[in-house]
Symmetry: C2
Subunit: 370 residues, 2 copies
DNA sequence: CGCAAAAAGTTAAACGTTTCACTAGGACAC
DNA sequence: GTGTCCTAGTGAAACGTTTAACTTTTTGCG
């Protein structure tokens, strides 16, 4: 009945494994509506009405209701979601599709928050991690499309999203994209990177810094980085400061090492620079470390702002000033959007920006020569 | 048809939201087996046999098979997992239930790894995060028990696991526990904490340390901590060193601050101590920080070993010597166990221990006075 | 008393699949 | 010509729900 399978578990078996207390499976099948109906001496539909507490349930007498409920209790009846889904034509399952090379980052925290939010709205969250585009494609082609309550997508490649998400949305699946640069017509929930960098740069300006660097991605900047850059430029403009190309340093390595290599390049090109804002925390910490190695203490000689509120940054010394994403709000908003799209027959795509919170710690201070 | 819902999304709406490219839902329902049968001019059952490539499919001529497959392609038929699940009586859904107060740790990494492993075996992973025991209970009572392929559990409370998991297993749900101290009769996959601490303590002894502290949990030690303690004691015993009560320090705060407060207590009670092994990375980093504050540099004056291979520890200076869990192996083993239990009618509980890898970095060095 | 309308349920079809049991038609042997 | 076996399928029940449409009984009212 069940498909055959070959196992391949290479591992040591614990010494107290198999205490010879073997669980024997009870073969007694679970109670169904039919069983309850029989037990309560009513028809199957009556049981369904009572247990779902429908509008139709008002047409059923109180005594019968009680009899049904008692019977259900006696038989420990639990409704079978499969049967229900088949009849109703939809499930309460929301799928989170993650296609990305870097899982270490906040994605998993987002996933957990989404699970919570989904549960709160009566959904259940299925997480599908794909290692590459091909796997994700296979998944979408095969499994999906059927009866799913909604689809949330964390997919690095905009091209791939373009080719699949639009089609899915057209087929009636509520799709919400969690990264910017979404295809037209797809709803998006994403952190407000521009406002964050606006606020972060403002923070540095207010501290007296007049020459502020931006440590960025590789040259082929994704939309996420462009948003951050835009915020940075707006803050400079507001304050009447010039935007200088040389203050934006592109690092090729994405993490800590990127920050380490970025510092000398930034300082060499701009001797007067006293602060920098970085596109993520790891780069920021690398920058602090490299600055320290070069004899410039943070925050006395050099201020640094990160992005992402990593645990690393929290416990680093000096503790990192950074932006925390309100993962709960992202989760709530995206699940909410799915729900909303399920209701409407021709939903209008929405973009919801979730603000990031500036967390001021020790890595930013007054400009040294002020 | 769909349940009504009230939304409550408080957030700024992006300026380029709703580019007035509205996706209109095609109302055309998806093709079913029936449609394919009609298209190919065969009976419904024939289509089922062909598309599943059953043993019965051998009784069907090659030409008919091709006709069916062509028809399915033309209609873009995709099998409906709900219908299938209802008929078969089981799903390929594995549920990961996480009930814990600390989500920041490796749980989410494990979750992602399990998702991967599940997919590789043809399952899909549903993650259910519960904030407390009551929520988890509600979930198990309501949703679960039905048609689920398996249940993986990360639940802090052993008492709760005791009361639910055993019952579930008896009802035929393959249950795998991912924390130690499992109820009797439940299969477990868990890191081999004892061997890790054995190896970690050995590492310190080999470096010449003769007085090694252990920074532990609160006094009501969970099984996880007891395992670690056992490994520590075994290593001491092997080396002919005495086990001294005062070298084991219980900290009340679980994270970084715990390490900070633990250091003075350890040193005060044992002036000769030159190294410590900690039950997690955060405590270890706190310990290093506190040691530095007290004028004892790591690793020259004081060696520290952590547990968990956090990103923090990786980029800390000095980089932390710690243990990395092979999350992929945990995932593979646990999904494998679920599969295995599904096959057997009265499965024997197994305990699989996954080894942890000692990652030697900069926070451990030769004992100072050797 | 007679009729309408409300109250309290019941019947049966439908959702999409799987699979056991059956059959129509032909080939082959005797 | 009859019986047996094989090939290539078909028919129909079953899985557990939901729900539109119907029925039966009771009550209200003139």
């Amino acid at each position: 009945m069940l498909p055959a399978v070959t196992l391949d578990i290479h591992s040591t078996c614990g010494k107290d494994a198999g205490r010879f207390f073997t669980v024997t499976r009870s073969t007694k099948p679970r109670a169904t509506l039919k069983d309850v109906a029989h037990e309560a001496n009513v028809s199957l539909s009556t049981v369904s009405y009572v247990l779902n507490d429908n509008e139709h349930a008002q047409r059923i007498s109180h005594t019968t209701k009680q009899r049904v409920r008692d019977a259900a209790d006696r038989l420990a009846y639990k409704s079978n979601p499969i049967g229900r889904a088949l009849q109703r034509g939809y499930t309460n399952q929301v799928i989170l599709l993650i296609v990305t090379w870097d899982l270490a980052t906040s994605h998993s925290a987002t996933a957990m928050a989404i699970s919570r939010a989904a549960i709160a709205q009566g959904f259940e969250l299925t997480v599908h991690v794909a290692d590459n585009d091909a796997e994700a494609e296979a998944f979408l082609k095969r499994h999906l499309l059927h009866n799913v309550g909604g689809l949330l997508v964390l997919w690095d490649s905009p091209a791939m999203r373009e080719s699949y998400l639009v089609q899915l949305a057209a087929e009636g699946v509520p799709v919400v994209d969690l990264l910017p640069d979404s295809p037209a017509g797809i709803s998006t929930v994403t952190p407000d990177r521009e406002s964050a960098f606006l606020e972060g740069t403002r923070h540095l300006i207010k501290l007296g810094h007049g020459c502020i660097g931006l440590i960025s991605d590789t040259l082929t900047r994704p939309k996420t980085t462009l948003c951050k850059l835009a915020g940075y430029r707006r803050a400079l403009q507001e304050a009447g400061l010039n935007y200088v190309e040389s203050l934006v340093v592109d690092v090729t390595e994405f993490g800590f090492e990127g920050g380490v290599s970025g510092f000398p390049r930034l300082v060499q090109r701009n001797p007067k620079v006293t602060a920098a804002i970085c596109i993520n925390d790891a780069i920021a910490l690398g920058l602090i470390a490299a600055a320290g190695d070069a004899g410039r203490r943070c925050p006395d000689d050099f201020s640094v702002v990160g992005f992402g509120d990593s645990t690393m940054g929290k416990y680093w010394r000096p503790a990192l000033t950074t932006f925390g994403l309100l993962a709960d709000r992202v989760a709530k908003a995206s699940v909410g959007l799915v729900l909303q799209q399920r209701q409407e027959t021709s939903p209008e795509p929405k973009t919801i920006l979730i603000p990031e919170e500036l967390i001021i710690r020790q890595s930013t201070g007054p400009a040294p020569n002020s």
